[in-house]
Amino acid sequence: MSRLLQALFGRLPIGWLQLTHNRTRFAAALAGVAFANVLVFVQLGIMNSMGAATLRPYDFFQADIMISAGDANSLSDGGNVARQWLLQAMADPDVVDGMGLFMANVPWDRGEKDISLSTFGVDPVKPGFIGVQIADDLPLLQVQDAAILDRLARGLAKDEAAAIRPQTPLAFEAQSRTLVAYATFAGGGGFGGDGYMLVSDQTFLSLFPARSSAAPDHILLTLGRGADVDTVVARLRSLISDPSLRIRSYADAAQDDLKYQQTRRPTGIIFGFGVLIGVLVGLVIVYQVLSTDVADHLREYATFKAMGYGPRFFLSVVFEEALVLGVMGFIPGLIVGTAILTLMGKITTLPLAMSFSMAVSVFIGTVVFSAISGAIATRRLAAADPADLF
């Protein structure tokens, strides 16, 4: 390490020698940096998992265009869309097929603990709209009250979920009806519900008698080969006379949802602030360590000043220290952060995990912010007046 820094800075690695001179203090400083890293990792992990959880249900379906109510910010949000617009959209030459998508939460009384399943009602004869991981099981939903259940749902035992097959279905009660799960898929708990469930539109309407087949929550459309999604979206906007409807490409709808969750919903804003606070705490910790270190060595620095070392030398010493703290504090921070995220993911069934991009961005952030702290800390150097040495 010492050699590496010597080669890097082209001088004695004073910062390194200074930091490591007092082992206990060095360890404490590293722990501080690691702690700030863990804080950022956890907040970032939660924020990312919220993003992943938001986008998750969009994977269950396949479509090119989605029509939703004007106030529908997510799949589970907003009013209905009249079925007539589906028929209207079908008039467009590029629109090949369309399907109404129903969505509501179904509480499942599990005895000691209720779980809430985000339930989608789909047309069981249109596998083209269903994600590949579910499409094969779709025909099972043609039976009334059949369901495909999320095997990762919170509160559902692993072995219980694994046992669900068409030959050994799981029957359960919800909304005063007996539903029968014939198959499972990998959904995963989100922030809105404990898991997901797919049923046919007919079953959905029996679960929710107040809903009407004429008013699904969203309309999904698929386009013919080679059709340009944006052009068709523009055409549909002029074709459909209700200006309050949101007509978007399916991908845009998912991204709009993500943006909405991150910037408009309190959870997203809170986690965003969590990241910010983690960064600030890290900044303060590194600043504290570096400025204490500068203050402790004012006499030595004043001596170096007297000997003819200029401000760039001192800046490079403090940068060196910032680099050492940033790099060496990052490693334990990464290990502990990964462990905590993995543990939290296990407990909550949220998609919480360390990702490469997260590690890289936090690493770069740590080094950059350490350097900024260092630059601020060198301001105390002004107090090192070599004339006071005599």
């Binding site: 010597q6 001088r11 004695l12 004073i14 020698l17 200074q18 490591t20 001179h21 060595h297 006499r299 030595e300 001596t303 170096f304 007297a306 000997m307 003819g308 070392y309 200029g310 070599p386 004339a387 040495l389 005599f390």
Partner: protein
Amino acid sequence: MEHENILEAKGLNHWFGTGDVKKQALFDVNLTLKRGSFTVLMGPSGSGKTTVLTLIGCLRSVQDGSVCLLDRELNGASEAELVALRRRLGFIFQAHNLHESLTATQNVIMGLQVHRGVSDADAQRAATHALGLVGLSDRVGYLPGNLSGGQKQRVAVARALVGNPALLLADEPTAALDKESAAEVVDLLKRMGAARGMTTLLVTHDNRILDRADRILTLEDGRIVTMEDRG
């Protein structure tokens, strides 16, 4: 052009504070240092010795009068010029001021590294050599915390000398040392100065040093009151 005098100070006045508390510390100080000479500046505390030293050492800006150091005028010189000039000086302080995290060798290397373009191997060799000259060959890898007071001051001497300064400024280098170590350090300075043609200005009120001086200046209340040439 190489002057015979490495330093010429003329009509040097200096004040501390501003407004009502402004107090004059130096009055019309005139001083020359001949190349290779060993000059001792004496005087009671508060007489302005340190002020003279910091002005000559480019650590304070000259307010009034002229200081010509190594053929450069210090009055009105920029901070960058002062920093550049400082690199050609050697400083020894009352306290050793060694960096506690650096070994003896590393401390000495710091005295050399201020000059750019010195390779690591050369710096290492020069530092080991300088430590050998001050009799610390067997202590090169020691941290200051494991050296005695005299040894630390000798490391500081090696650090000041390793860059071959034209002028060595020493402020009470023997104050913190016992009689034996003090004599050792002063002899060392005298010997090294003679060997390298280095000029030395040493501030002290330690009488034990006087017999080694070429010239003794006495400062009282900011004025030079006596100047005694020897040898």
